[in-house]
Symmetry: C2
Subunit: 236 residues, 2 copies
DNA sequence: GAGTGGTCTAGACCACCCT
DNA sequence: GGGTGGTCTAGACCACTCA
């Protein structure tokens, strides 16, 4: 992963480091307009291309802001972002060294309920496949999945078999998508949910809610209730 | 933001589109080894540099995997990642169009408790500043903050005044950092927490836990309890 | 050993946007 | 209008890794 500079050439990683150090040391305090790329390139004896790449990454990292004529400005509050891999339950469980298990709880076809249509812009009477299933880690309930799939967008879903593996895996394998919206929140488990997760009613559950889109049309909406105690890690 | 290609030149954005389309249409199914950069460049009549940039971004997006001698491979399950901006409570509240309010609840200096030392690698007797405060939106409790700051790492913290604005803002303004670890989970509110958040004991609260590091040394550890019902959005 | 991606140079034209 | 960043070309050398 780490690539060493060949000789004593200045690379874009080194440029990034130098600029970051100057920002952190307040040599370039917040709101400072940095020297132009050409000037920096001259100072560091490299080409503008190299400086450009470094600065573009700093902009992507939320450290600086760039505008054509205005130049590159140090952001007052680094708008740090964190990334996390979108939870894929089998991978999560096996990655933790546990055995993955799966059970289909229910399957039916129905019209989209009003709340779903309202939130996603679906036509109110859209035919949806509604599935609920349970994912297990080492035999213990881990995550409860409640999923809606638009039959019009994914006709083949009606013929798929979800008795032995979940719809998430099938969808990610078979259906293209262009955008994902994710939200996370906490909710108290209902009696029915708690029973399935082997927890107590009212226990706090970490919930992920995901909408998947293909060119502006909803493909699937899923609510994932994790067993109490689950943590999601991210790094910035 | 959107930059148009100047004439009918092929740009890296266009290359990305073309490759993505071929992957989505199964012209290049999962596990396919793509043609080398030089070949693609020839086919699309552009330089290898342009293809390289496109492929690097696809790799960063989790669409393909690249290895030097092995070439570029289409990932079976796109390892999509989502990003979110690290919560900054004042920005969150004001961004939602509400008035931001703040109250300091407690302030004391103490040795690091055992659980904290164990989790962060701090020396067990480190002197820490321990603060709790409340952030309000339109006058209503929004988030309860419980923060520990290493006095050795940030001596100036003892002289800072947190009566009218929170330690988060002070730290982000005054103290450099290199890494952040974030975790999210759900927890039931204790009676004391619930009273401060104007909620009921046992209500499910969304919790963010953040550790901030400077070159391997802990700067601050903070636990943020959001009022029940709070949602965190992200986009992939 | 040899092929593939990683990165840099040197130079150019252009789009955007502030003044 | 003019300066700054955005992007492309053409060519080169090298590092990594697989066979």
């Amino acid at each position: 992963m780490a690539v060493l500079p060949k000789r004593d050439q200045i690379g874009y990683r080194k440029v990034k480091e130098i600029v970051m150090a100057r920002i952190r040391s307040r040599h370039w305090p917040p709101d400072t307009i940095l020297p132009g790329e050409a000037d920096l390139a001259a100072e560091l004896s490299c080409t503008r291309t190299t400086v450009n790449r470094a600065m573009q990454e700093l902009a992507e990292d939320g450290i600086v802001e760039r505008k054509r004529k205005a130049g590159t400005r140090v952001l007052p509050t680094p708008v740090r972002q964190a990334r996390f891999t979108i939870p894929q339950v089998r991978t999560d469980i096996e990655g933790a060294g546990a055995d993955y298990g799966y059970r289909l709880l229910s399957r039916d076809v129905a019209a989209a309920p009003g709340w779903l249509a309202a939130r996603t812009g679906l036509a109110a009477r859209s035919r949806m496949l509604h599935l609920t299933c349970l994912h297990l880690a080492d035999g213990a309930p881990f995550q409860l999945e409640d999923r809606w799939v638009d039959v019009a967008a994914v006709p083949a879903i009606l013929d798929a078999d979800f008795d032995t593996s979940g719809p998430g895996e099938w969808l990610v394998r078979e259906v293209p998508y262009t955008d994902i919206d994710v939200a996370f929140f906490a909710a108290s488990l209902s009696a029915a949910q708690a029973a399935r997760l082997g927890a107590a009613p009212g226990d706090a559950s970490f919930v992920a809610e995901r909408m998947t889109w293909l060119e502006g049309d909803l493909v699937t909406f899923v609510t994932l209730n994790f067993r109490p105690g689950h943590r999601m890690q991210a790094t910035g």
